[in-house]
């Protein structure tokens, strides 16, 4: 997992992730609504997926053999929209329509409104089952596409996640890789105080998953983990990514209050300044 990754690739991905973070802050500010904390925590993972790993084509968003991504924690829609915009699925200007009337960018991802969204999500707990279905379809048709899903750490409190985990292990879905965005915070407080899901590595292992625990902001580790997942046969892989809620914006980091509230203009400027500074 500690493979040497091309430095040029890493710095390119770092720039992408930073762009995505800036867009997250801007779109949530513009909407005055949305979930910045859990979007910023997942930005590095989505960057690696969309700019290094997944076989996707923004010009042909529904091509049958594309790799799939299911944002099971659908409230982190800003990170998905910002990533899709960075990739060229939609103009960046459109991000300003997020959560507004007549927009394709619904509060939570909508399969029907925005090509590039592989599943409607938002009601927590449902994404992993859908990812199972996609992975199963690939196996049935002997197609090479792979399925990626991103779960929240609060989300795994939903019982349906464990039904899905059981099924993915049972069907040996080695073309399915899930990330758990372990930022430790949910709306009402700290995840381990509200309803502690730990130990998650042992739980998923017990459900016959291959489990990796990484720093979810270390691009090299994310890349290495995905490579290991691809090489793993006979089991789905769960990558437990330790992350920081609000990552990249000092006043948002590890603050539960930034789960679902929007910055004002001043806060937005401050956040963008910090993010731009991070690129120097």
């Amino acid at each position: 997992m500690t493979k040497v990754v091309d430095q040029q690739l890493l710095s390119e991905l770092k720039v992408r992730a930073n762009h995505i973070r800036q867009e997250i802050v801007k779109m949530v500010t513009e909407a005055q609504s949305g979930h910045p904390g859990g979007s910023l925590s997942a930005a590095d993972i989505l960057t690696v997926l969309y700019f290094h790993v997944m076989n996707v084509d923004p010009e042909n968003p529904r091509m049958p053999d594309r790799d799939r991504f299911v944002l099971s924690k659908g409230h982190a829609s800003p990170v998905l929209y910002a990533t899709l915009a960075e990739k060229g699925y939609l103009p960046k200007e459109e991000l300003a329509t997020f959560r507004k009337i007549n927009s394709r960018l619904q509060g939570h991802p909508s399969y029907k409104s925005l090509p590039g969204v592989d599943m409607s999500t938002g009601s927590l707990g449902q994404g992993l089952s859908a990812a199972n279905g996609m992975a199963l379809a690939a196996k049935l048709d002997k197609k090479p596409f792979r399925v990626y899903a991103l779960l929240g750490d609060g989300e795994v409190q939903e019982g349906m996640i464990w039904e899905a985990a059981m099924a993915a292990g049972h069907y040996k879905l080695d073309n399915l890789t899930a990330f758990l965005d372990y930022n430790g915070l949910q709306i009402d407080g700290e995840v381990d105080q509200i309803m502690n899901p730990a130990p998650l590595d042992e739980k998923f292992r017990a459900f016959n998953w291959h489990v990796l625990v990484i720093d979810g902001h270390d691009l090299e580790q994310i890349i290495g983990a995905i490579e290991e997942a691809k090489a793993t046969k006979g089991k789905p892989t769960m990558i437990i990514a330790n992350t920081v809620k609000g990552k990249g914006v000092s006043f948002m980091e590890n603050q539960c209050g930034w789960h679902g509230s929007a910055p004002n203009r001043e806060q937005c400027e401050q956040a963008l300044k910090e993010l731009l500074g991070g690129m120097e």
């Binding site: 049958p64 799939r68 299911v70 909508s110 399969y111 029907k112 592989d118 599943m119 409607s120 999500t121 938002g122 009601s123 707990g125 449902q126 994404g127 992993l128 089952s129 859908a130 990812a131 199972n132 279905g133 996609m134 992975a135 199963l136 379809a137 690939a138 049935l140 048709d141 019982g159 349906m160 039904e163 899905a164 059981m166 099924a167 049972h170 069907y171």
Partner: protein
């Protein structure tokens, strides 16, 4: 249209048979079940096409979600379980993972309504029709007999979109012959009549016919309509019945609120107000008993239909 009434056959048996036929004809069809394959009869498909059959265990929510995922990749999933577990247990999953993205998933359930019988109220879905009808994009179909079931399932496989297909446990009379043409959204007149109209769905269709036959002996001419598509409902046939007869009796093995009776009431109120009487489950839970005993106790009888019809004359 020819209506016969000799053979008895459960709609779930027809479901199992037609699935197994369709499996050979359409490779995109996949079937999911939640540990009830022997009861829902999906076991027929499972034996012939084990690669395309997924018994997910006692985990209905995951079954619905997996069906959604399979559908995004071009499969035509038939997700099967008892009516109760395929609706109320997984309402959010059906709404958000199937109907909102408008995916081509068929939720085909058996053991619906009171006639599930001895297992009692905990297993008797009487609310399912109303609930499924309230979800945008969902089509709701309740076949009346084994022949119609086969036509419905074939049509469902050929027609894009989320569908809820409600079947039953006990044997019921076969009303239709193989020439019967099922069309989504079309009610079918199965007996002509000019005094009153009985609109029935599912297991109540043959009971409605019996009621009409007995009414005829008393000199009352009752039209009978089999309304197998509850949504989108056939407005035209309802309005015509309201215009041509003195009133309508609905008959359903589901709660009268939001089910067939509710749907017909909406059409009448908005288009051609006419007297309506509803026979169905009167907003109550069932209990254990044989299907016939339950139908008797809860008033899902030809006598009740006849009585209601007479109040319209």
């Amino acid at each position: 249209m020819s209506v016969k009434k000799m053979e008895m056959k459960a709609t779930r048996d027809a479901y199992g048979e037609v699935l197994a036929e369709l499996g050979a004809e359409n490779k995109d069809i996949v079937v999911l079940d939640a540990d009830l394959a022997k009861s829902t009869k999906t076991v027929d498909f499972a034996k012939k096409f084990p690669d395309r059959f997924f018994d997910v265990g006692i985990a209905e929510a995951n079954m619905i979600g997996m069906a959604a995922g399979l559908a995004t990749a071009g499969k035509i999933p038939f997700a099967s379980t008892f009516a109760l577990f395929g609706t109320l247990r997984v309402g959010d999953q059906i709404r958000n993972s199937i109907c909102y993205p408008n995916l081509n998933v068929k939720i085909a359930v058996t053991h619906s309504g009171l006639t599930l019988g001895e297992d009692g109220a905990s297993h008797q879905a009487v609310e399912d029709v109303a609930l499924m009808r309230a979800i945008p994009n969902m089509t709701v179909i309740v076949p009346a007999d084994a022949v119609e079931t086969k036509k419905v399932i074939r049509t469902a496989a050929e027609t894009y979109g989320p569908m809820y297909i409600r079947m039953g446990r006990p044997k019921v009379p076969v009303l239709f012959d193989d020439s019967y043409q099922f069309q989504i959204g079309k009610g079918v007149q199965i007996k002509d009549g000019s005094d009153v109209t009985i609109i029935a769905m599912g297991v109540m269709a043959h009971i409605a016919l019996e009621a009409a036959e007995d009414l005829a002996k008393e000199g009352i001419s009752a039209r009978v309509i089999n309304m197998s598509t509850i949504k989108p409902i056939d407005q035209e046939i309802i309005i015509r019945a309201a215009q041509e007869t003195r009133g309508i009796v609905t008959a359903e093995e589901a709660n009268i609120y939001g089910g067939l009776g509710g749907a017909v009431a909406e059409v009448l109120a908005e288009n051609y107000p006419a007297p309506l009487r509803r026979v169905g489950v009167m907003d109550t839970f069932g209990e254990s008993g044989t299907p016939d005993a339950l139908l008797q106790k809860y008033g899902l009888t030809k006598e009740n239909i006849m009585e209601k019809a007479k109040t319209l004359l």
